[in-house]
């Protein structure tokens, strides 16, 4: 077995076991940590295929920013294993069976797919210069629109997260304000 195959199997086993840890752990903080490990395993897969830019962006954006946001929210709500709600056993079994049936259906669909062999030599398309060239010539419109998307998401998040001002104006404040009119 070449080093590529050994690394592939090791990273795959790591990714699948950490993904199972995400859905099976009681404590939500443990789920976040397992998901961070899953993202690192997937970044390892990207590096194995010489997609260098995406590996680094995956670590920085997903594991570094999004998961930190999740951790902030979980710590803010002070969730731990005691207050964690659990679905009934029957519903959990139904969920597992549904996911398993979807897995089998898609597996049956892809088993007749043509097998393409991977060229193990490193290709150049994952390097940031080549990706940048394609991004700024062919895909410049989605790039600019994604900045508008970020702006709208930022504004939306701030508007949704704003505390409502429900305190009514008291009588003394009203009379104080009226003397300036």
């Amino acid at each position: 077995m070449e080093i590529y195959d050994i690394l592939f199997w090791f990273l795959s086993a790591l990714a699948v076991s950490c993904a199972l840890g995400v859905i099976l752990s009681r404590n939500p903080v443990n789920s976040v940590l397992f998901l961070i490990a899953t993202f690192f395993a997937i970044s390892g897969h990207y590096l194995l295929m010489n997609a260098q830019f995406l590996a680094i962006v995956n670590v920085i954006v997903y594991a570094g920013a999004i998961m930190v946001l999740f951790l902030f929210v979980i710590m803010l709500m002070n969730l731990n294993a005691d207050v964690e709600p659990q679905k009934g056993q029957l519903v959990q079994l139904a969920g597992v069976i549904s996911g398993g049936v979807l897995f089998l259906v898609i597996l049956a669909a892809i088993k007749t797919a043509k097998t393409e062999s991977m060229d193990k030599t490193a290709t150049d398309i994952g390097l940031i210069a080549n990706l940048g060239r394609t991004l700024f010539t062919k895909y410049v419109l989605p790039f600019e629109i994604s900045s508008v998307l970020f702006l709208s998401a930022m504004v939306g998040a701030v508007v949704i997260g704003k505390k409502e001002d429900t305190k009514p104006v008291s009588k003394e404040d009203e009379s104080e304000m009226k003397q300036f009119l």
């Binding site: 859905i23 995956n58 997903y62 996911g99 991977m118 398309i125």
Partner: protein, 101 residues
Amino acid sequence: MPVNSTHYLFLSLLLFSIGIMGALMRRNAIIIFMCIELMLNAVNLLLVAFSKIYGDADAQLFVFFIMVVAAAEVAVGLAIIVMMYRKVHSVDINILNRLKH
């Protein structure tokens, strides 16, 4: 047997179905959100594998845009969850179900 496209298809499918099982099994809204991110990453992995196989850089740029959309979605989704927590002091989706009454 050398690693080929079938291995990556199988791995991505496995991660995706684990994400779906998690989204159906758990009651915590934050964990469901994390399983959606897991599903997105499974698709990203498959796109990068096929970009390497066919030598096309467009798939890697599509992965980049998927990450962009996922980041924006997490920002808004967490704002919604925090607002929900402020109202009912729980992130249980069964409690959110009662808002329809």
